[in-house]
């Protein structure tokens, strides 16, 4: 659509610019030999992944007892990791859907990678509810599958059931969205491979591109479908983490039982999602020379979002304390007091400093332009968000109603092993994605580039 319009006005210059985009993005996947750093990173990721595989093997064959969980703290690292990964998965949909609907053109440089990240993060997240069950081979009982086992049917009052639906819907929509957006680019890959004589690749990309020919009709259908999916998945950005937060909010436990959780969790999820996008993209952008596509202003915009969501999270922390005091509920007040000053005070301190203090640096423009600093801050935010979930889950359980049930919690090597394994899996998939699939939405970048618009530089905010 818009590409054609551009061709009419400044055919030579625009064509050259579009070619450059195609060439630069495709070169990531077309390079004969992978980058050395990429190989090193992959080796590390696969090692971590294998540690995870071993941890899962031991876990499934021995029992949940290999973890540090116990009768007083029944959820700890398992659900912490689940919520953390789900949170990370939020940036993808937000960028793809919400920013699309609000016409934020800067999203195009990162939306593909963010969507891929979402899918991999949700895959990692999904592992935990499955593996944290005592008998994971029966976990399918949570699905409403018709069966011949009498009265066996899920219990829909349980927030865990809601999780099953929320997360599986989210994963499905995310995959659809990601894949559908990739179809025109896959067709580009197909064509380039065919031209370069890489037959097998051409066939694979050909199958994946679903016979895309780039006709006006194709583009029309594509744009419609994209819009519909964006519309469908926008509520998901807010619903998934709200539902996840219901696991806690609907329970009895002081420290869990708070109505603030849905917005608080969603803000935190977006916060951590953007941090993870930058954590991954900053090095890869450098590695594959994509600075002219993923521009500094895009990175700056993400920093601003983190600043905003970080402050929302900070307000949530303060509100929790205020309400604990204001409610006059001594159990509630004690739960929060022991969070900040109890045996897990260091976790609380890590959470507040990483999530509230660290983003404050993004007020400064100089920081927003310093990619190394941004990267370090993003890592800290990810750490802080992990601690947020740990603080909510473990410290609340460790100080429940009856003092006789107060207990401490220590993780074991298998807790750590599985977490490391999911990080390995996540990075591994992401690296493979970078190597074999179009990491940047070429067609969309072209559409959003200045050359695509009549009369030169793009009108701000304009897209398609």
């Amino acid at each position: 659509m818009s590409t054609e319009a551009a061709v009419v006005h400044e055919p030579g210059k625009a064509r050259e610019a579009f070619r450059a985009i195609t060439r630069d993005v495709s070169s990531v996947a077309e390079a004969q030999k992978p980058h050395k750093l990429w190989l090193v990173a992959l080796a590390i990721a696969v090692t971590a992944f294998l540690i995870g595989v071993y941890s899962v093997y031991v876990l499934v064959t021995t029992g949940i007892g290999v973890w540090g969980n116990h009768n007083m703290v029944d959820w700890a690292w398992d659900i912490t990791n689940f919520v953390w990964w789900i949170g990370i998965g939020h940036a993808g949909t937000l960028i793809s859907a919400v920013l699309y609907l609000t016409r934020q053109t800067w999203r195009v440089s990162i939306n593909r990678a963010a969507e891929a990240m979402t899918i991999f993060a949700v895959m990692c997240a999904g592992l935990f509810p499955l593996l944290h069950t005592g008998r994971p081979w029966f976990a399918w009982w949570m699905l409403p599958l018709p069966n011949d086992m009498g009265s066996m049917w899920p219990q829909f009052r349980s927030p865990l059931m809601w999780d099953v639906f929320a997360v599986s819907t989210y994963l499905t929509v995310s995959i659809l969205f990601w894949y559908m957006g990739m179809v025109p680019d896959l067709a580009t890959f197909r064509d380039r491979c065919a031209m370069q004589g890489k037959k097998i690749r051409a066939i694979i990309y050909g199958v994946l591109s679903l016979g895309w020919r780039g006709s006006a009709r194709h583009w029309h259908r594509y744009e419609r479908a994209y819009l519909i999916l964006a519309g469908l998945s926008t509520p998901l950005v807010f619903s998934v983490h709200s539902v996840v937060s219901f696991d806690f909010a609907t329970s009895q436990l002081p420290g869990w039982h708070t109505t603030i959780f849905p917005p608080y969790f969603v803000a935190g999820a977006i916060f951590s999602g953007f941090a993870m996008v930058l954590t991954l993209l900053l090095p890869l952008r450098f590695l594959f020379n994509l600075q002219h596509i993923i521009k500094q202003e895009h990175i700056g915009a993400m920093c601003k979002i983190m600043l905003g969501t970080g402050m929302m999270v900070g307000i949530a922390y303060a509100t929790e304390f205020f309400i604990a005091w204001y409610s006059g509920n001594p159990f509630e007040l004690f739960a929060f007091r022991s969070r900040a000053f109890g045996p897990f005070w260091w976790a609380y301190f890590a959470m507040v400093s990483c999530n509230v203090l660290v983003p404050q640096f993004f007020w400064v423009k100089w920081v927003r332009n310093n990619n190394i600093l941004i990267w370090v801050l993003c890592i800290l935010i990810n750490v802080g968000m992990w601690f947020e979930r740990f603080v909510i889950i473990a410290t609340s359980l460790a100080r429940s109603f009856l003092p006789s049930a107060w207990a401490h919690y220590h993780p074991t090597r298998y807790d750590v092993g599985l977490f490391v394994g999911t990080i390995g899996m996540f990075v591994m998939f992401f690296l493979l994605f970078f190597r074999f699939l179009p990491v940047i939405a070429m067609s969309e970048v072209k559409g959003a580039s200045p050359e695509a618009h009549a009369g030169g530089p793009a009108t701000k905010g304009g897209h398609h």
Binding site: H132, Q155, P403, S404
Partner: protein, 1069 residues
């Protein structure tokens, strides 16, 4: 028994039986028919497997397989079998209904005192032990007019686990090497020759049959000696000093209004503890009632904090050696004489305690009793006899009975004399019946070395223990459930023991052994029967389990001329502040291994001590103030030096432990124990848990029970004791006590705040004065229907959920905190009834213990003088159960009778239910706790499992079910008997059977509780005991503000402090 059937035919082209599975089969072409000459199964699989003597399972396995084969074989070309027919039993074995349990009365003896029991047997295997409610001494009813009730101690109940213990001795040993019973019998001829001059060292026993055999042996020239490391002989000696005759004091606590315990634990340690529990509960709730009434008052002065101290209305922590000045001062105060000179007695608190107590004793003349403990020297017991005479206890609250063996040496004298004789080379033959003197004899005797020098020594014992290893012969002893026997309860009632199974490992009982020694070789039943010839209808006696009116005869006694000029030692004259090197060490029984004999019993080790909450270890108890002063900390390895001997073991700083008194718990560190200690990688091999404190327990200069001039030193590193409740919480995040004044240091303020709400208490005075007082019940918070009734308004239903509607039974429970003495019986009962696994020390440290009922205890007050509150906590069976809402697969759901049912097969193990349980009573199978029972050597242990309760696999959640299997069994019985429905309760549609009479169903914990503190029943019957308890003004629900509407409610603990004593500073009371 039934036989297998194996029909056989030649290869048949069509199915002979007329049924076929496929056309190919019909045509005779099914794939398994095509190759008649190839072996269909793996070699060996169609031959019977090697015989496994213990496996009932293998039997069914084979039977099932053979029957299956019989069908297949009809058409298949497999091997020919002999034709066999399945025949049913022509007659059912007598009294056996498959699937039904049978109860037999039996007994077991611990430290010379019998426990009357009822054993439950399922298809020939004993699976559960309870107290015998019909027994005149052990059974009874607390509330007059209600059903008689048993109650059994933890040791009695857990001893069933020893029956199936694979570590029990299975063959005789000759000099530590395996032998046979026949070879022993051959050697016996030699031993019998040396019977003259032989020493027979027995455990304390009250068995009349043993006594009869003993007479014969003594006639043959053998000398009979009895030794028990935890002996009550001081009481015997002291009473004799005061009275002039050997008699046994027997308190009638149900008649006492003031009970004084001087270093005496009447609830767990005393040989009559179960009876004392009941009697205490009776006078604690005078009319057996729930409400106001005259209550007894319990005073305790003790060194180690015991259950008695925790229950006491007034407790004085004193070093055990101060028992003498205490008794002297009390005696003096009663007779208005000046007391002895002791700095301690001049301390304000002590002075006040003794003077108020003396005043009360005078006022309660004839309604008070004083008891002194096992550790206290004979002088104190003599003084106690004198005091009891002075306060008119004789004949009212205290009875003396004739001792059956007035001339017996004390246990300590006996072992000392034996050791002296052995040292002098006078002993050629020693026969030891039970016991483990090499382990538990006084350390100065060096019994092991002496024993090795005796030419012939025989040890009859259930376990091949330390003594067995050094004896020339060891013979396996039968478990009490495998043998005939008899013993006397503390009052003397003869109680009979009958075997429920053949000896699993071929042991023989003490009486059979003695008979063998005498050359009679009589069977156990004959021996016991002969002893009790003519005492009544034998079958009836066996059925009842006791011989009526066989108690020791009451003795008419008086105390005369007891001189109170008893000199005090310098340390008895000193105050409560001492220095290192002046400490006292007292030896305390182990709640888990008793004197070491239960060292291989994981049930007992994993049941936490009532007050310390420690499992799987023994330790040195040190008062926090003393620990601070001497520079040691909790969980430090400390070296306790007693005279020239010393031992290094973990230190447990126990609030309320007497200052400068070190409590050494006995019974740990057995070297020839069994594999229980290895559970949870506690110890390797057969070393038992804990530390051997007998190593420092000498007998020189009367230091056997209380040793003085001791010292402790830290610096041995640290060792974490497996505690099921976090150590007593000082302040969140702080383990520091240094720098605090222990008399001022309060416990964690949050624990203090919550404990007041969780365990409600009120003084008897307040309860009586304030008729409007009512425990905070859930109604105050939530039941607006009641409110609406009062305000004549329409009830607003506060709940957002549709609430459950109940028809028919509504099961409920009430737990009376006034009479729960923390004896742990309910925990073992539940463990036995519900196949609750043990997890071992390491897993306990990870908070993974599995008990379905636990006893929470909280300290309030100061560290120096703490007040203990406690609370047994099973599943509360909420009507609005938070667990049920959150299970994604509906594995825990609400029954129509209000139980939170748990479907183990349905559970996938998300543990969400446990997280949402405010009472934290759910227990998750983090690992496969029953894994070891699949090992061939442990298979026999599976016979103990209650067949009515599922054995849970790993990955599923479990919790208290109110013994749902008992409820269902009772309902089925009711249906079978076609009981008329109770007209007061509308029968529920679909209910099997009608409503059940109150008391028909007893949960395991309720049945074991000696004080009937636990009451279970139907809340829909307004006249049931539980309904009345719930309606009582003392009744309250735990955490009512959560609106969980628990079916288990607690009855406020009523304390009865003397108004003249300083009152507990508790808010609101």
């Amino acid at each position: 028994m039934s036989k297998h059937e194996h029909e056989h035919q030649d290869t048949a082209p069509t199915p002979e039986h007329g049924y076929w599975k496929s056309l190919r089969e019909l045509e005779g072409k099914a794939s398994w028919q095509l190759h008649p000459h190839t072996r269909e199964f793996e070699p060996g699989s169609d031959e019977p497997p090697p015989a496994d003597p213990m496996s009932r399972r293998n039997f069914f396995h084979l039977m099932g397989a053979s029957l299956g084969m019989a069908g297949i074989a009809a058409g298949a070309g497999c091997q020919r079998y002999e034709a066999e027919k399945i025949v049913p039993l022509a007659r059912r074995p007598e009294n056996q209904t498959p699937g039904q349990t049978l109860q037999y009365a039996t007994t077991f003896e611990l430290g010379g005192s019998a426990h009357a029991l009822v054993a439950t047997s399922f298809e020939g295997r004993p699976i559960h032990l309870d107290g015998n409610p019909e027994h005149p001494f052990a059974g009874g009813a607390i509330v007059p007019g209600t059903k008689r009730h048993g109650g059994a101690s933890t040791f009695a109940q857990a001893s069933i686990l020893n029956l199936y213990d694979v570590d029990r001795s299975q063959t005789p040993l000759n000099r530590g090497k395996g032998a046979t019973l026949d070879s022993f019998k051959a050697a016996l001829a030699e031993i019998k020759k040396g019977l003259t001059g032989a020493r027979i060292l027995s455990e304390a026993t009250s068995s009349p049959t043993v006594a009869a055999l003993r007479k014969k042996l003594e006639a043959a020239g053998a000398q009979w000696l009895e030794y028990e490391p935890l002996s009550w002989d001081n009481e015997r000696t002291g009473t004799r000093t005061a009275i002039g005759r050997t008699v046994r004091p027997l308190a009638k606590l149900d008649k006492a209004e003031t009970i004084v315990c001087i270093d005496c634990d009447i609830f767990v340690e005393h040989p009559a503890a179960m009876r004392y529990n009941r009697d205490f509960a009776r006078s604690r709730r005078k009319d057996g009632s729930l409400g106001v009434g005259k209550m007894n008052r319990l005073w305790a002065a003790e060194s180690v904090f015991t259950n008695t101290g925790a229950m006491a209305d007034h407790r004085l922590a004193m070093r055990a050696e101060l028992g003498l000045p205490f008794a002297l001062a009390l005696d003096a105060a009663l007779s208005n004489q000046p007391g002895p000179q002791s700095e301690w007695l001049r301390e304000g608190k002590v002075q006040q305690f003794i003077s108020v107590l003396a005043e009360e004793l005078k006022a309660n003349n004839g309604r008070a009793v004083v008891l002194a403990g096992r550790r206290q020297p004979p002088t104190v017991h003599a003084l106690v006899a004198k005091i009891n005479a002075a306060i008119g206890a004789h004949g009212t609250t205290l009875e003396y009975v004739e001792d059956p063996e007035p001339n017996r040496m004390t246990h300590l004298q006996a072992i000392q004399q034996l050791a002296a004789d052995m040292r002098g080379g006078k002993v050629q033959t020693v026969v030891m019946l039970g016991g483990n003197p090499v382990y538990d004899a006084p350390a100065d005797l060096d019994f092991g070395a002496l024993l090795s020098k005796v030419p012939t020594s025989v040890h009859l014992s259930e376990y091949a223990n330390e003594t067995s290893q050094l004896a020339t012969w060891h013979v396996p002893k039968a478990h009490f459930l495998e043998a005939w026997g008899d013993a006397r309860t503390w009052d003397g009632t003869v109680t009979l023991a009958q075997p429920l199974v053949q000896p699993i490992y071929g042991g023989i009982s003490s009486i059979e052994f003695l008979s063998l020694l005498l050359g009679d070789e009589k069977a156990g039943d004959e021996l016991v029967r002969t002893t009790h010839e003519g005492k009544g209808n034998w079958k009836q006696l066996l059925h009842d389990g006791y011989i009526p009116n066989s108690a020791y005869a009451p003795a008419q006694v008086s105390v005369q001329g007891l001189s109170t000029a008893m000199p005090l030692t310098p340390s008895q004259q000193a105050g409560s502040k001492r220095k290192n090197g002046e400490l006292e060490v007292v030896y305390h029984f182990s709640w888990a291994s008793y004197d070491g004999r239960y060292s291989n019993n994981p049930w007992l080790w994993e049941t936490p001590d009532f007050l310390t909450k420690v499992t799987w270890d023994n330790y040195a108890l040190v008062a926090p103030e003393t620990a601070t002063a001497l520079g040691v900390k909790n969980d430090d390895m400390i070296t306790v030096k007693v005279g020239q001997r010393s031992i290094t073991l973990p230190c447990y700083t126990m609030p309320g432990q007497a200052r400068y008194s070190i409590g050494l718990v006995l019974g740990g560190g057995r070297t020839q124990s069994g594999h229980a200690g290895a559970v949870g990688s506690m110890r390797n091999g057969i070393v038992g848990p804990g530390w051997n404190t007998y190593k420092v327990r000498g007998s020189e200069n009367d230091t056997w029970d209380i040793a003085t001039g001791c010292s402790i030193a830290g610096g041995g590193g640290t060792y974490t004791l497996a505690n099921v409740q976090e150590h007593w919480n000082y302040r969140p995040g702080s383990q520091k006590l240094m720098g605090y004044d222990p008399t001022e240091t309060k416990f964690d303020p949050e624990v203090d705040r919550r404990a007041h709400e969780i365990v409600e208490e009120i003084s008897n005075e307040d309860l009586q004065k304030n008729n409007a007082w009512k425990a905070e019940s859930e109604h105050e918070f939530w039941d607006d229907e009641k409110e609406a009734e009062v305000t004549k308004q329409k009830a607003r239903h506060l709940s957002l959920f549709e609430e459950h509607d109940y028809h028919g039974h509504r099961w409920g429970m009430a737990i009376d905190l006034s009479t729960c003495t923390g004896c742990n019986s309910c925990m073992i009962a539940c463990q036995s009834e519900n196949n609750v696994p043990t997890v071992g020390r390491n897993q306990v440290m990870r908070n993974r213990e599995m008990h379905w009922i636990r006893i929470d205890r909280y300290f309030t007050g100061t560290v120096d003088e703490p007040h203990v509150v406690h609370q047994p906590l099973p599943c509360q069976q909420c009507e609005n159960a938070p667990c049920e809402q959150v299970c994604p697969v509906g594995a825990t759901s609400h029954s129509q009778e209000g139980l939170n049912d748990m479907a183990y097969n349905r559970c996938i193990g998300t543990r969400y239910c446990a997280n949402n349980c405010p009472y934290r009573v759910r227990r998750f199978n983090f690992l496969d706790w029953n894994k070891e029972y699949r090992e061939a050597r442990m298979k026999v242990r599976r016979l103990l499992f209650n067949p009515d309760v599922t054995v849970r696999m790993r990955g599923v959640m479990e919790k208290c079910t109110y013994c749902v299997q008992r409820i269902q069994n009772a309902k089925i019985r009711a249906k079978a008997q076609l009981r008329n429905p109770n007209p007061t309760v509308a029968p529920r549609t679909g209910t099997i059977g009608g409503p059940l009479p109150d008391g028909e169903i007893e949960t395991a914990c309720q049945q074991a509780c000696p004080t009937e503190a636990i009451v279970f029943g139907d809340l829909s019957d307004p006249n049931s005991r539980v309904s009345k308890a719930h309606a009582d003004r003392r009744s309250y629900a735990l955490l009512p503000e959560l609106y969980t509407r628990p079916r288990t409610q607690y009855l406020t603990r009523v304390l009865n402090p003397n108004p003249k004593m300083p009152q507990l500073a508790r808010e609101g009371h």
